[in-house]
């Protein structure tokens, strides 16, 4: 039990940052929140949330804000409590497929968690859904007066054009899984990914569609999937070589299709040390248990420091 006030920053480049602030402030009057738009604002916070939004837009806006990505990288890598929801989770991933092929350097990633994320796994908005997901763990430390009930009931997961975690590396604790069929575009990306893994190529980033051909009868077939390496590097040809050289160091096992419907068991929540990732949106779920779990993480890391 702690009675010390804490301040949690919410990255406010774009997306549902106000919803996160409202959720945190509803938990306890001891929690203060602040919006983060520039590197210097990272100084006096006890933890940070990267909210849901459009990962492509967030990545580009972050790119154009001098020093922000570097500051966030060092913040996350220093082990300070960080939570990414949906688009925020994509930013925290080390690998991402299904990124936009329009943008030269692909999706900007902050990294920090060894997971392979597939953007927009479940399809377009019409396929966005609500579904019960495994309940979050109980928080290690509670704030005084925080009433959140952790009764193990399923958590209402709101998945909006959501990404899915395909694989998690060693040391990543899996907090929830769902079984779901990939959308058409994601299925094509997965197929390509399987081929690349089989051929021994390492994938850091892979775009969806570079060019497309309209099949007769209306169907669309995707062609020319592009491969991206490190977002900070500018030379594409060199990157490709480098990627090919690295291929033996990595071992990715994709979740297989569980039955003839091509449904796969994908991961929707993970924790790596002080970094938390959820593919869904607790900020709009009217259930504060994930927020209370994250606050517990922040308090714990504060106590360790003190």
């Amino acid at each position: 039990m702690s009675s010390e006030p804490i301040t949690i920053g919410v990255l406010a480049l774009q997306g549902a940052f106000e919803e996160h602030q409202r959720s945190l402030e509803a938990l306890s009057p001891l929690i203060r929140t602040t919006q983060i738009r520039t590197p210097d604002q990272l100084a006096n916070i006890d933890g940070i949330i990267l909210p849901g939004g459009e990962s492509t837009a967030m990545g580009l806006i972050g790119d154009s804000t001098t020093g922000l990505w570097e500051a966030l990288r060092s913040y996350v890598h220093s082990g300070k409590p960080t939570w990414g929801t949906c688009a925020g989770m994509i930013l925290l991933a080390e690998r991402c497929v299904g990124t936009s092929a329009v943008i030269t350097k692909g999706q900007s990633l902050i990294g920090g968690v060894d997971i392979l994320v597939c953007r927009n796994y479940f399809g377009s908005q019409i396929s966005s859904f609500e579904m019960g997901t495994p309940a979050p763990p109980k928080p290690a430390v509670k704030l005084e007066g925080m009433k959140e009930e952790h009764d193990g009931k399923a958590f209402p997961g709101v998945f909006i054009r959501a990404p899915a975690i395909l694989t998690a590396g060693p040391g990543v604790e899996i907090l929830g899984k769902v079984v779901a069929v990939p959308c058409r575009a994601a299925a094509v990306v997965l197929q390509e990914l399987e081929r690349k893994i089989e051929a021994g190529e390492t994938v850091v980033q892979m775009g969806v569609v570079d060019a497309l051909e309209r099949k007769e009868g209306g169907g669309v077939c995707y062609t020319n999937v592009r491969l991206h390496k490190d977002v900070n590097s500018t030379n594409f040809e060199e990157e490709k070589k480098e990627v090919n050289l690295m291929h033996e160091q990595i071992n990715i096992d994709l979740p297989g299709a569980s039955d003839e419907t091509n449904a796969r068991e994908v991961i929707c929540a993970v924790r790596k040390d002080n970094i938390l990732c959820t593919a869904f949106h607790p900020e709009i779920a009217d259930d504060l248990r994930w927020h209370s779990y994250f606050v517990g993480l922040v308090l714990e890391s504060k106590q360790v420091k003190a």
Binding site: L60, T65, R119, S124, I126, M131, I160, V178, V181, L212
Partner: protein, 335 residues
């Protein structure tokens, strides 16, 4: 067995439910603080995505062209919508005519991410809007004041935007509508419960929604600015007036340097409270769209197309209008 989810459009045995209010309103919440751009082809869509747009609105003619060319403005060809949808990974929106629920059904079949039931297209029904609760795909609708906003919410709109006056490059109407909605909210917030019943009557909006606004001090759904945004300063102005994000229609691709302007407007919306950054992103963009300064004198009026607004004293007088997109109009924000 497990194995079905929303992606199949089914309510699978694993308990996934698609098309819920939360999911529909949720996407709009994810677009907050972002810029949605009108695009007419794949090239423009790619420019928009690369500039940091959170979504694109696919349409055959942008509002400025509809104003100029006239004729009946309808839903775009699904072929161009699908082409754009396949070219970018951000959400794609498209417009249907007010009341034209079959256009909306077609757009839903295109798996479009959001439908704009838009006054910029010619009205298909001068009385009824689309019953948006019947769709799994969410709708955005325009509003000039809180009554109109809540009427659209009651019909199932999951997102709102100011109407402004599209295709003019003139922010004055958007400012009027944003200010009107914001002051309406403030007024409701300090009313007592008995006053709210009358307020609901006067606003011609459902009492439950009026009460929600009074209790929470905000609209039940996200509200973006639209209709006349042409510069980064315009966009930041609308954000400072309390809007959740910005639609830019003709402002980008009718300007001299769409790429630079698109990027600048995105940056201005993120850093809308920082005049230093706003100065940087307003610098050296080349000429903005020429636009229309005398909106009142312009023969085209998109903003007053609502339908269904009845005059308690009887049939409202038909406005005498001339010009290419003449339509029967009820009540004007000028009166």
């Amino acid at each position: 067995m497990a194995g079905t989810n929303g992606a199949n459009g089914s309510n699978g045995s694993n308990g996934a439910t698609i098309g819920t209010t939360k999911v529909k309103q949720g996407l709009a919440q994810m677009l907050k603080g972002g810029v949605i751009m009108d695009v007419m082809n794949v090239e423009q869509a790619k420019i928009a995505e690369a500039a940091g747009a959170v979504a694109v609105m696919a349409l055959e003619r942008i509002p400025a062209d509809i104003r100029r060319d006239g004729g009946v403005a309808r839903m775009s060809d699904p072929a161009m919508i699908l082409e754009i949808k396949n070219a970018v990974t951000i959400p794609v929106m498209a417009k249907a005519r007010i009341g034209h629920f079959v256009e909306a059904q077609i757009l839903e079949a295109c798996e479009i991410d959001y439908i704009d039931e838009s006054e910029v297209l010619t009205m298909a029904d001068e009385v009824n809007h689309i019953d948006k609760t019947q769709f799994n795909v969410p709708f955005v609708c325009g509003c000039r004041n809180i009554g109109e906003a809540l009427r659209r919410c009651a019909e199932g709109a999951a997102m709102l935007r100011t109407k402004g006056e599209a295709g003019t490059g003139n922010i004055v109407e958007a400012v009027r509508h944003a200010r009107t909605v914001q002051s309406d909210i403030k007024r409701l917030s300090c009313m007592t419960k008995d006053e709210l019943f009358v307020a609901a009557k006067n606003l011609q909006a459902p009492y439950e929604l009026v009460k929600y606004v009074a209790d929470n001090g905000r609209l039940p759904v996200v509200n973006f600015a639209a209709g006349g945004v042409a510069t980064p300063a315009d966009a930041a102005l609308m954000m400072q007036l309390g809007m959740d994000g910005v639609f830019v229609g003709s402002g980008i691709f009718k300007s001299a340097n769409p790429e630079a302007r698109a990027k600048a407007i995105v940056k201005a919306v993120t850093h809308y409270k920082d005049p230093k950054i706003l100065m940087e992103c307003s610098t050296g963009l080349g000429p903005a769209m020429v636009g229309i300064s005398d909106i009142r004198g312009d023969p085209v009026n998109f903003r007053d197309r609502e339908g269904g607004e009845s005059n308690p004293d009887g049939v409202p007088p038909k406005k005498v209008l001339h010009g290419a997109t003449e339509t029967k109009l009820y009540g004007s924000s000028w009166n």
